[in-house]
């Protein structure tokens, strides 16, 4: 009789813990977008056929790229971190007078919605958009935009995003 009572209470407590876990996960999934900030980390990498190697900080990204690209050298030019409020944008300067704008557009289905626009200056002092892309990326995920010329090879821009 006593054992049955303990079992009943244990089952009740277990159910309570499960409900608590479910409720907290639901609450996390429905975070209020308006109050959120996206932390975007941008790695500017120069890929070339120079001396083989990669900066330790970008080894994870380079490991992914090496299966597709034939570059031997991956050099981290700079690492830029921006906190962007939802609905806002941040400007990041790229080599050769190019500018990249990163827009934080929302957070839905556990993904961060970003828009990236790359502009470059024309010969007449004006700027034109060369790339416009919108994507949804998981927190901590990385997307790569590359192919622009830079000093000794190609520019690879790796963009990671996290919620703050």
């Amino acid at each position: 009789m006593k054992n049955a009572s303990v079992l009943n209470r244990a089952v009740t407590l277990f159910a309570f813990l499960l409900i608590l876990f479910w409720a907290s996960s639901q609450a996390l999934a429905q975070r209020d977008e308006a109050t959120e900030t996206v932390r975007v980390t941008v790695y500017l990498i120069e890929a070339s056929h120079g001396t083989p190697g990669a900066d330790p900080e970008i080894e994870g990204i380079v490991r992914q790229l090496k299966g597709t690209f034939g570059y031997s050298s991956y050099r981290l030019e700079s690492k830029i971190r921006k906190d962007i409020k939802m609905g806002d944008a941040e400007k990041i300067s790229l080599p050769r007078s190019r500018v990249m704008y990163v827009y934080a557009q929302g957070y839905e289905g556990n993904r961060i919605k970003l828009k990236v626009k790359v502009s470059e200056k024309t010969g007449r002092g004006e700027s034109r958009d060369t790339l416009n892309t919108e994507f949804r990326i998981v927190e901590g995920g990385t997307i790569v935009i590359g192919g622009y010329d830079c000093d000794a090879g190609k520019l690879i821009v790796a963009i990671s995003a996290d919620m703050r």
Binding site: F21, T68, T142, G147, Y148
Partner: protein
């Protein structure tokens, strides 16, 4: 030892119950044998005693004792059945688990949470490390290619920069 009738009357019930000892017992016994009134009073007490004894024996025999323990046990286990417990009392009752039960509940809860958190099917098609859905890509005055590369399926948007047209501007793609 001489004793008066009124003193004997006070002692007769105890005499009948065999509670008297020593001189009192000797004196009352002798007095009852000699005194007619006290002897009759003793007989009356004896009749009442026998009647009561017979009655209780009859009740005890007719009363079944077989279910008594069950009823007593039930009463012990549910002492407050008539008085509903308050929410606070119920909550405290739940939390008042033995330590091994707490440990077992916690262990099972952690296991279930871990399974739910990391089971691939429960992760909203979640989430290869670089899982990314590209909704749109628009390029002007240049061509683009979209790759998925590496074990983590990292998306790559590769721009064929016109500034280097005619050169190997696809990044030396190997596959």
């Amino acid at each position: 030892m001489t004793i008066r009738c009124e003193d004997v009357r006070k002692l007769l019930e105890r005499f009948y119950d065999r509670e008297l000892k020593g001189k009192q017992l000797t004196a009352v016994t002798a007095h009852v044998q000699e005194c007619v009134n006290c002897s009759k009073e003793l007989e009356r007490i004896e009749r009442v005693g026998r009647a009561l004894k017979a009655h209780y024996e009859q009740v005890a025999v007719s009363e079944s004792l077989s279910g008594m323990w069950n009823r007593v046990s039930e009463a012990i286990e549910t002492p407050a059945a008539a008085e509903p417990l308050s929410f606070r009392e119920k909550l405290l009752g739940i939390l008042r688990l033995p330590k091994p039960a707490w440990a077992a509940v916690a262990a099972v809860a952690v296991a279930v949470i871990l399974v739910f958190a990391y089971l691939p099917g429960n992760q909203d098609s979640t989430f290869a490390a670089n899982d990314c859905i590209i909704d749109s890509v628009v390029a002007e005055n240049c061509s683009i290619m979209v790759y998925e590369t590496g074990n983590a399926g990292m998306k790559v948007i590769w721009v064929m920069d016109e500034g280097t047209s005619g050169t190997n501007n696809n990044g030396g793609v190997t596959s």
